[in-house]
Symmetry: D2
Subunit: 158 residues, 4 copies
């Protein structure tokens, strides 16, 4: 598993400084950081925030929401996504995920990668994984399709 460290020693080419990113990207990272404060995570104590921008410019953000039956937990990325989709917005142009782990960036889990890939629609969705602290902030820049190569799709079922 490729691990990316913020001290730069082993950063891969996709890690960039927050300040060097487009303001529209900075904005969703900050939205994800803010949304993270609402996380309901009494089981893991691991708070995650996420934000998605849709093609009309709107930002939808969310946090992880856990459950005593772990299988029922919903991640921050899916929370943000269903908020947008249920408002009729399915055309995502960028995604940010923010959480604090010492040893690397927190990327979306496989469930969220699968969920988001449904809405890629022949394009791709850039995805930015960041930490809420450790300034100067560094950001892993990737995308939904990079994170789910050779993705499962079930075209016949649609």
């Amino acid at each position: 598993m490729t691990q990316v460290f913020i001290n730069g020693a082993r950063d891969d080419l996709n890690v960039r400084e927050f300040q060097s990113l487009d303001p529209s990207i900075q904005e969703i990272i900050l939205a994800a950081t803010e949304a993270r404060k609402q996380a309901y995570c009494p089981y893991s104590n691991f708070a995650v925030g996420a934000a998605l921008r849709t093609s009309d410019g709107t930002i939808y953000s969310g946090c992880n929401i856990e459950n005593g039956a772990y299988a029922t937990c919903i991640c921050a990325e899916r929370t943000a996504a269903v908020k947008a989709i249920s408002e009729g917005k399915r055309d995502f142009v960028a995604c940010a995920v923010v959480a604090q782990q010492d040893n690397g960036f927190t990327t979306p889990c496989g469930v969220c990668r699968q969920f988001l890939s449904e809405f890629v629609n022949g394009k791709d969705i850039p995805l930015y994984a960041a930490k809420p602290t450790n300034l100067p902030l560094r950001v892993l820049c990737t995308s939904v399709l990079q994170l789910l190569p050779n993705g499962f799709s079930f075209a016949n079922g649609k």
Copy 2:
């Protein structure tokens, strides 16, 4: 499985006329009916809407959102719930679910019952299952704890 039919022949005691319900309940049923229009359900073609009212009076609504990998689907009830929770609202006072099946009311699936039960907090959440058509509208009146008796909880983990 107790099935409840709208023709009245086998209605159970918990089925009531829409018009007889409190206006605040009518309002969330209508919100769920409206939210249902945003359903993303190309695999099942089965659209569901849901709405939750929180203790401050706000209504959060959502629809089901499917995925080619069925396990990744998120129901309308959870969509509505995560919208509220991610906005800092976890104190639910009523829930409505709206979908169209000929042979009975559409109640929450087990996943959604489990998800909602996390936020019952020693009380209960009344739940109303209705259909978008077939007026005069009839409504199955139940609750989250009635639908998940002897619920699983994992208190030690919190």
Copy 3:
């Protein structure tokens, strides 16, 4: 949420002594207790075992299997069930669940109730929740349909 305690003070009518149960039921409770030893639960440290008997008399057992992404966890009941189903056995006649919580029996979560209800086929599946210790062993006797009243079904989709 109805809680049932083993000290008898608040036991409900469905709690029975292990020794009073049919030997075929005792057998699946012991199988679930044994299967529990294989639980992979580094995140919750909450081990669960389950066992199902199919109509041909075979017992299939399983444990809970967790994941760093909590939503991906699979419970003991579903582990046992998929083992049977993938061997061509879908006709369940009894289910046992075994785990240790101080304050009540561990019943199936909503996901597992939903999963098992798919295979009820117009009958019902008796379900026994027990603890691995605290002899003389007491057992909560219930059923899949009792635990998922007014169950969601999507008959049109089949």
Copy 4:
């Protein structure tokens, strides 16, 4: 999304002839093909089989098992995996997935990638995606970590 086609025109470098694979790999592909026959998929009519070999040489196989509540579906890969894990076998050395789609190989969904990645343990698990027909059989050769790059892990929680 990289699509791989069996007609060879757009095959990527990881597609190989079944006959050229190691007999131990051929064996799990055939086991997955056989397990697929037990698929319970009345909602999608899309049958999938999977097989895993553990380090002691044993093969565990499974099929997909669907549910009226789609979120409760369990894929073939996870069915095979929980069978092994619940028998105390967590050291996977190879995985095969078999299903029939006209336009490409069926790879594991994100949920299954996440589930399997928990058991990679610093190594990786080769993964073979094949079709049950269309001989001479061609096989997409990949791995769990290739399919889940920059994987989510939550080391602190363990």
